[in-house]
Symmetry: C2
Subunit: 574 residues, 2 copies
């Protein structure tokens, strides 16, 4: 039976870095060719990175992307990779407008190109803002086999281009993707890809990028499924990976001679006709297991933080260490992302700080090896309180703000990226001080609910123990009752419901977008609903000024959940 | 000839305030009925306010909006307004999804409803995220005349529902709008509305809302044009206004018996058939002149600030007064928006502050009557500098941040809304200190380029002189060379190009989205382009955390211009 050796290039591009991303494509193609691949597939818009947002509409960038694609095709030819067709996503710009496009590069030239049909415009996506949809399908014959393509969202929608490919007849479908990570999304992907393979009547090659881009992180999870939906190979998550798969393909798919399948204009392009016999030795397909949930989330957070720092040119991070669980988890993430030598932790005790706030912070530093310093804030706070006559909440907040100014001062002086250590629960209910603990260029756990922060801490410590390493997070930081320590003896539980309960309400209200009646029906007490929803609604202004941070949930604060600040709507009519 | 007395209700709704907005509709309908109106037209989504953003997708809010609409219809009937049909926009929710809708209320019930067809998804708009498009047209017979409707964007697009109405035959078209202000937009509206009236073959009643909603402000500018495009009446900008217009309508429009015009299902609804004779005395139509440019921008800024403060429950604002032009203009805007008694200005001199920074601030306070206080920051700064060993930029920034903490402390203690006084030019090039002068709940001039700030100051002073009032802004604040005064003798011109030149480059790069080659072709020096674009690109992270402020330009920072922070693209390939 005819065979193809397919290379899935699960790479980590950088938005806007046309030159660097082109280098990546050349380098990985060369590796794939050396490994005997007959074709190489890169992720969606690999040449520009994804998402480019409004850069899509800037003519200069669109032209540069097209020019970079042509240059890339030529370079591949010169690099001795011209015989192997390469599927590479890029930004196109034609007379209709900008396009989310992917091209086939072969023989030093662009031999086929196609535009994304389904443009997602929900959640974090604004693709109808940026792109015009495509209506053509280029089917490319490689070693006598017909290869169709769909781009990302095209496989999330029933019918459309996949059905058209099925009708036109293809031996294989390749699907370049830039599908952001969220919890449990990999559970949805495989059945979906399997369904589309059946719909197309051909095996499907799904290639997703890895890496972080502002608040998005991509997990890879690239895979190949057979026509019947069987999973044949799967790449590991969150790492760059070249996956080779030998596929036996019966061929003879081109059932349709006409050029239109449904609403799509089909173009057939011939790259090569000679069939490939089976390889000896065959590549042994690997099916990576998806990571267990805590490991997956941890990897997402590490990747998002690492790439934000590195792609923005930071060599180090600085964060406040309160002795509490949030800053401890952020510190552990930072150490995993950048190495202990790149992490600067600062304990900033006030007059209300407990002894354990310092000792737990120092313990964390010792366990992880990060740089540790103490900057007591009592003197800083005192001049503000005295000069401005601050009391109550104003006095509490000035403590948090003196810490913010301290971290920013250290950042300006030493070039560190400041991390905000707030979690999603705090951000939801506004339990944070704007320009205080909210200060930062990046917020690693802003999409992690408090209860999950604890779970991650326990998981990370257990992992360390399994590996015979020192658990990074002090047990006391995990076990002690959480407190902002902004007044004597203060505990979070003075101001907030129990975190288990609070996170349950927030999961329904924020992620589920459920209204008052639904929350009552879910069994929450009306007083609790009122209290929590009021806090959430009133904190919108704080969230608007919060730093970006890695999305791991179905609905993260930020572009995922767009609500007005000026908003008189109160659930339940209260 | 049959006549209709039409009431255009140019009102100021609040997002989410279903009860308050319904009250507004009842109150204004009553006034219109008392004035003899035969029909009343309110703006787009008047019942929910606009834009409701993701609230559109929350089922509880959609159901509440529908229920509020039914209740409003009943209330209008009970209030003795049941005989006069009222066009009122709302959020609908049906089995297809959320709808940007408008209904006709008559006889205590909803007698017709229609969904917006063209959903804008560019600039500040994300309507394809929120709404499903309509495909029906309800044409309502009122006093024997056929009245069709289109909603906002429907009139900005060629063809579509307007053409369908023209084909179906109508005597009048009403168009509820929520069309945000931007400079020179009113110049575009009239020709557009005139064109659509000709396309529909009927006079067109254009009703737009007024007021501020987060970073948007609506200018009203409601109008009636004749079938031939002649402007018959126009409401003043930025004020609530009930405009009555007597229109002679020849009638006999219902040319089409079939129920489908093009792609639209047309439904005819009869409210009343008896023709109305001419009124005596007739209403004398008023055609308000559009405001001169500076007055228009000033009104937009005043309205945006006033409504942000009031709709969010703030009675007062606090801002730093540096003696410079930006804070002086923000103070004058605040006084115009909220009254001098609601404005608290704080001079926060440092060791580098000039004598005139205080005297100009004090002069401004005296001219405007705002509350004035001095809070020297030398002691506050000194403890940070000493404790953290800050030098250079870190020391400069800590001054701005101590001012930020001071303002936030006063806000927390006294409940003022903090205003950030930065202008668009600074925001563009990152010439501001994050968590320092960028601190604030609202930024009144964030979309005003520096050169326009000066122009507005001069205009406002001249206006005061015309009215025989004290010009609010000290001449010295306008004339002296701008300086951040963060080190001895510092001037903006040390770090930035001349503002005239800088604003010209920014206008092309930010508003025009022009690339490197276009900027060179426009005559800017390559070194200047490189320098400015680099500053703009690198400051994206600061803009993300900047407070909202009134959009007055074609492209404001914020939801209007969405660029990645992590972005390696450099125009000109540098």
């Amino acid at each position: 039976m005819p065979q193809l050796r397919i290379a899935l290039a699960q790479v980590n591009p950088t938005v806007g870095d046309l030159a660097g991303n082109a280098d990546t494509v050349v380098e990985w193609t060369r590796k794939a060719v050396e490994a005997g691949a007959n074709l190489v597939v890169f992720p969606e818009m690999v040449l520009t990175g994804y998402p480019v947002e409004d850069l899509a509409m800037r003519g200069s960038f669109g032209h540069a992307s097209r020019a970079a694609l042509d240059a890339l095709a030529a370079r591949l030819g010169e690099a001795g990779c011209g015989e192997v067709p390469v599927w590479a996503g890029y930004l196109d710009l034609d007379e209709v407008g900008p396009r989310n496009a992917a091209a086939v590069l072969h023989g030093g030239a662009v031999v086929a190109r196609q535009f994304k049909h389904h443009l997602p415009n929900y959640g974090v996506f604004d693709e109808r803002r940026y792109f015009k949809a495509g209506t053509t399908l280029d089917i490319v014959r490689v070693h006598g086999l017909e290869i169709g393509m769909v781009i990302c969202e095209d496989i999330w929608q029933e019918g459309g281009p996949i059905a058209a490919l099925g009708r036109a007849g293809v031996d294989l479908v390749v699907a370049p993707n830039a599908s952001p990570y969220e919890r449990a999304k990999d559970d949805a992907r495989l059945p979906l890809v399997a369904r589309r393979a059946r719909e197309a009547g051909a095996p499907l090659v799904y290639v997703n990028q890895v890496g972080g881009q502002d608040d998005l992180v991509f997990d890879g999870d690239s895979m190949v499924v057979a026509t019947d939906g069987t999973l044949l190979a799967r790449a590991p998550q969150f790492v760059e990976h070249l996956m080779l798969v030998d596929l036996d393909l019966p061929g003879g798919a081109a059932r349709m001679d006409v050029e239109v399948a449904d609403d799509f204009a089909v173009r057939r392009v011939v790259v090569s006709t000679a069939l490939v016999a089976g390889y000896e030795p065959a590549v042994c397909p690997t099916v990576a297991e998806p990571l267990p949930e805590a490991a997956e989330v941890w990897s997402a957070l590490v990747t998002g933080l690492r790439d934000y720092a590195q792609k923005n040119g930071f060599r180090s991070v600085v964060l406040g260490l309160s002795g509490g669980i949030d800053s401890a988890v952020c510190a552990a993430l930072s150490v995993d992302a950048l190495g202990a030598d790149a992490v600067y932790g600062v304990s900033m005790p006030s007059v209300y700080s407990s002894a354990h706030s310092r000792s737990d912070a120092a313990d964390l530093a010792e366990r992880t090896g990060l740089h540790y310093a103490e900057q007591p804030i009592a003197d800083l706070v005192e001049v503000f309180v005295r000069q401005l006559g601050l009391t109550g909440l104003a006095e509490e907040n000035v403590q948090a703000r003196c810490r913010g100014v301290t971290l920013m001062g250290l950042s300006n002086q030493h070039g560190h990226l400041v991390l905000a250590t707030g979690n999603k629960t705090e951000l939801a209910v506004g339990y944070s001080t704007i320009y205080g603990d909210a200060v930062g260029g990046f917020a690693p756990i802003k999409d992690v609910p408090k209860t999950l922060v604890w779970e991650l801490a326990r998981w990370r410590n257990a992992e360390a123990e399994k590996r015979g390493e020192v658990p990074p997070i002090p047990e006391n930081s995990i076990e002690k009752p959480p407190s902002a320590e902004l007044r004597p003896g203060q505990l979070d539980s003075d101001s907030l419901p129990d975190y288990e309960l609070l996170d349950a309400v927030l999961d329904d209200y924020v992620e589920g977008d459920r209204g008052y009646d639904d929350l009552v029906a879910a069994g929450f007490a009306p007083e609790l609903i009122d209290r929590v929803l009021r806090m959430v609604d009133r904190a919108e202004y704080k969230r608007r000024q919060y730093p970006p941070g890695t999305k791991i949930s179905f609905k993260a604060f930020g572009r995922d959940r767009r609500l007005p600040i000026t908003n008189a709507w109160r659930e339940g009519g209260r």
